[in-house]
């Protein structure tokens, strides 16, 4: 029996009737057409489906949609504002952190989760933060560089605002 839930995704509210067995990943990709969030394994092992729920990262493939009723969800589509990319996205592009791009959304969300909590992470802390996100193209080197560079960009922005 379907349940009616409200999801606030990237600032927009959606009322949806969903089966209790449906994952947040299915609802985002299939019902809301937010296909930027990928499904890499369905087991919570690869991190490609990472999104933020109330500011903290989760595997959307393991999260039931009904369990996040009323919560704030941020997906990769919520990072850029119009043509202005998020500093994390800019850094991923500049540092060659994106090759095939399939892990990128999840990587970026894990990076955001990290930088929200730790604005000046060390390389080791970055590696720890993306240890649940698998990538087969980059060996992670340029991703680690990009996240470090994004941290600097975000801190500079903050300083400017202050």
């Amino acid at each position: 029996m379907k349940q009616v839930i409200t999801l606030k995704v990237n600032g927009d509210s959606y009322s949806l009737a969903v089966e209790p067995s449906r994952s947040l990943n299915e609802v985002l990709r299939e019902d809301l057409n937010l296909t930027g969030t990928k499904l890499g394994c369905g087991d919570g092992d690869c991190g490609a489906c990472t999104v933020l729920v109330n500011g903290r990262s989760v595997s959307s493939c393991l999260t039931l949609a009904v369990s996040v009723d009323g919560k704030d969800i941020t997906t990769v589509e919520g990072l850029a504002s119009g043509e202005d990319l998020h500093p994390i996205q800019e850094a991923f592009i500049e540092h060659g952190a994106i090759q095939c791009g399939f892990c990128s959304a999840g990587m970026e969300m894990s990076a955001l989760n990290l930088l929200n909590q730790n604005p000046e992470p060390t390389d080791e802390e970055i590696r720890q933060a993306i240890s649940g996100n698998l990538c087969r193209c980059t060996g992670y080197y340029k991703i680690v560089d990009a996240i470090g560079a994004a941290a600097k960009k975000m801190n500079t922005k903050k300083t400017k605002k202050n």
Partner: protein, 756 residues
């Protein structure tokens, strides 16, 4: 050396913004109105005869729109080696027999995935189990179960290479070394599971979006299995989430999606779940390698006798090419006065192995390089010196096979020795620590036409416009490696335009030139790059003629295309912008658009490749005495890929290659029992994560390859080869355990360590 303005710079990669913001569309992101979802019923047995299949209950399930077995579809065998039809050994759905756990038996399309899945459980298949074989030894043994009737000894391919008098050379050798190596399979672990979406129009034509590296091959083989004409099938590669060689064939879900779309009149999507992908996705060949090498007293190689058995699994897939290639890799690094190779592709009742990054090289090179390290130690020669004595050099001829063009191998060896301080570290050993070395040589595309295409090996279409822009169309497939960036870079360079002036369309068989066998064997930069230059030169011929006539230049003037302008070198004041020149040229031709086609086919390049790349790698490890765990401290790499078209992408390829090869050497393997793959999740399949990666330092030895576009050749694939032998050598240096059967697990280290 040429001077470049676009080539050699890190321009922003094509489509990278789309990927960063999440709008880049991959196959599974496609959703069409009325789309059905497909699932596949797979064999639970490694080898069995199918006695009967009853689909009636599945067909009756509400929401099920189509159920097919081999009885419903054309019984056509397929495979990539069209030149030799006897190698085409797969049916889309099993006819009479299944040959591995996961072999496709039936397919269902339903209004949602769950219903399709439920329908599978309602299909009743009656099997008679047959004896099965799970390794090379049991498959080639007397009385082994016959997996394919035409091959009673289970060997489907023989490949032989021979030059020189091997027996004599070995007999006269001062030192002869004979070893047996065993290497295992790995999962390619592309992050995007395989996926296909088919749509059919009411004129009967099919469009298939599929996660493939080879849209043209899929188009041809899909047409032949459907009994349709090639031009009635359109194959489009959307963004691809990695392939690593495993996505270069027609796969059965491609066919099932297309066939059921035609039957139901609705779009049909198949996306494999990860467990399924682990079970039936293409994987690397396990091999057993017997190698005998001889040396003179002063360390010059005299001969090599190499025998390789490839564990191909249940079907040929790209095994024939792997059999061919691993024999070539056996002689691409060093000078062998005599060489003999015999490769045999063996059927087993396991998932088919195929082309996984390196394509026979990681296995063959593990053997070559491990044996060089063993020989160096036994002969008391520094392993780098031994290599330098025997290294191939520019201009070397590999008898009857090929000729080496640009070659930075010796320089790579010197550089990596210096970077890693290899010789010093060997002289002053530290307990529990070790350094080791491995090298590689790789192809920049193959030259053998097993697909039997009547087209050139690759072709590029270029259109230019009066607004100063150009549009390049190519079947080359960007699978993450960056060909959608490299091709326009080469075009921009040749036409004197900027990246933002070039539109690129690739990998759509209805739009982009046929020919081009896709992205594999590191063929794209060299082949599609050369075709792009060919097209650009044709464009320049047209534009230069128009500009000459427009300014009424004396015919002796030499024109140039640079900075978006076309002018005479002798009269730089007489200038047209690129767009103006296009407009003039078009008017000369009464309005006809300017469209040209360039192509490339390697001719007279022997039987291996048009260009060889090289590299050397040193691994530094620390081994834990109590646990046997190998802690990889650092990898040092020096490689020669000719001109770097996009340096950042070359680095990225190298980085990724190290990750894949560290996994191959230390942690990745399939756990199998009676033909069943037991570790089918990323939790159980130990692929290196961010915390598992070591420090890495690398440098490029710059050469200029005459056969390559603007001097470029292969990058990033050959590098999957030296890592495992380098790590194995470092582990030996640290522990006294010489690994000859990958992977190097802690158990093996503890059991075999001699030092400590």
């Amino acid at each position: 050396m040429q001077e470049f303005s676009v080539v050699g710079t890190n321009v922003t990669r094509t489509h990278v913004r789309d990927k960063a913001v999440g709008v880049a569309q991959y196959t599974d992101d496609i959703k069409l109105p009325g789309m059905l979802h497909g699932r596949t019923l797979r064999s639970p047995y490694p080898h069995a005869r199918i006695l009967s299949i009853d689909t009636s209950k599945a067909k009756a399930l509400k929401g099920v729109k189509c159920v097919i077995t081999s009885e419903d579809i054309p019984k056509v065998k397929f495979g990539n080696w069209r030149l030799f039809p006897e190698t085409q050994d797969e049916y889309v759905l099993a006819v009479d027999k299944v040959r591995f756990i996961g072999d496709e038996v039936a397919a269902v399309a339903a209004i949602d995935r769950d219903i399709a899945q439920e329908a599978l459980s309602l299909i009743k298949v009656e099997y008679e189990q047959l004896p099965a074989s799970f390794n090379i030894e049991t498959s080639i043994a007397e009385g082994a179960p016959i997996i394919h009737d035409p091959y009673p000894n289970n060997i489907s391919i023989h490949r032989r290479v021979k030059h020189g008098d091997l027996e004599k050379a070995l007999a006269e050798s001062y030192y002869v070394r004979e070893d047996v190596f065993t290497v295992h399979s790995i999962y390619p672990a592309y992050m995007e599971p395989c996926s296909a979406v088919a749509n059919v129009d009411y004129d009967g034509r099919i469009t298939l979006w599929t996660s493939t590296q080879t849209p043209y091959i899929v188009q041809c083989l899909l047409a032949s299995t459907l009994g349709m004409r090639e031009n009635d099938v359109r194959v489009i590669k959307p963004h691809l989430g990695g392939g690593f060689g495993a996505k270069m064939e027609l796969r059965k879900w491609d066919f099932c999606a297309a066939f059921m779309a035609k039957k139901t009149g609705k779009p049909v999507k198949f996306t494999l779940d990860r467990v399924e992908d682990f079970e039936v996705g293409r994987r690397r060949h396990p091999m057993k390698l017997y190698s005998k090498i001889g040396f003179t007293k002063n360390g010059m190689l005299t001969a090599k006798d190499l025998q390789i058995y490839l564990d191909g699994g249940a079907y040929n897939a790209m095994g024939p090419t792997a059999t061919f290639l691993c024999g070539n890799y056996g002689l691409m690094l060093y000078r062998y006065p005599a060489y003999r190779f015999h490769g045999q592709h063996v059927y087993t009742n396991k998932p088919p192995a195929s082309a996984i990054r390196g394509f026979g090289s990681p296995q063959s090179t593990f053997c070559t390089e491990s044996q060089m390290n063993i020989a160096a130690e036994e002969m008391g020669i520094d392993p780098i010196d031994l290599r330098l004595k025997n290294a191939v050099r520019e201009g070397d001829v590999i008898p009857e096979l090929s000729k080496i063009g640009s070659c930075g191998f010796a320089e790579c060896l010197e550089k990596v020795a210096k970077m890693s301080n290899f010789r010093e570290k060997r002289k002053h050993p530290v307990k529990g620590r070790g350094v080791g070395i491995g090298c590689y040589s790789f192809i920049s595309g193959g030259v053998f036409n097993w697909f039997d295409t009547q087209y050139p090996f690759t072709a590029t279409e270029v259109r230019v416009f009066a607004d100063g822009t150009a549009h390049v169309l190519s079947m080359a497939s960007d699978i993450g490696q960056g060909s959608d960036t490299v091709i326009p870079q080469i075009l921009a360079e040749e036409l004197g335009l900027r990246m933002e002036d070039i539109r690129v369309t690739t990998a759509d068989t209805a739009m982009t030139p046929q020919a081009d066998l896709g992205s594999w064997g590191s063929r794209v930069t060299l082949m599609a790059g050369n075709a792009t230059i060919d097209a650009a030169r044709k464009i320049k011929e047209i534009l230069f003629g128009a500009v000459m006539a427009h300014f009424n230049f004396n015919v002796i003037h030499d024109l140039e295309c640079k900075g978006g302008r076309i002018y005479s070198k002798g009269r730089p004041d007489k200038v047209l912008t690129f767009g103006e020149a296009v407009a003039v040229a078009q008017k000369f031709n009464r309005g006809e658009p300017i469209v040209v086609r360039g192509s490339y086919t390697p001719r007279g390049k022997g039987l291996v490749t048009p260009a060889f790349s090289f590299g050397a790698q040193v691994a530094e490890v620390e081994v834990d005495k109590k646990t046997g765990i190998v802690d990889l401290k650092k990898m040092y790499t020096a490689h020669d890929c000719g001109t770097l078209i996009h340096p950042q992408s070359v680095e990225g390829q190298l980085d990724g290659s190290i990750q894949m090869s560290v996994g191959y050497a230390l942690s990745e393997q399939f756990v199998e029992k009676d033909g069943k793959t037991l570790n089918t999740t990323f939790l159980d399949y130990k692929m290196p994560g961010a915390l598992d990666m070591c420090e890495s330092e690398h440098t490029c030895v710059i050469t200029y390859e005459k056969e390559g576009p603007m001097g470029a050749k292969e990058a990033g694939e050959g590098l999957t080869s030296p890592t495992a032998p380098a790590i194995a050598d470092a582990v030996y240096d640290a522990t006294g355990y010489r690994c000859k059967d990958l992977p190097i697990t802690p158990e093996k280290v503890l059991k075999n360590k001699k030092k400590f």
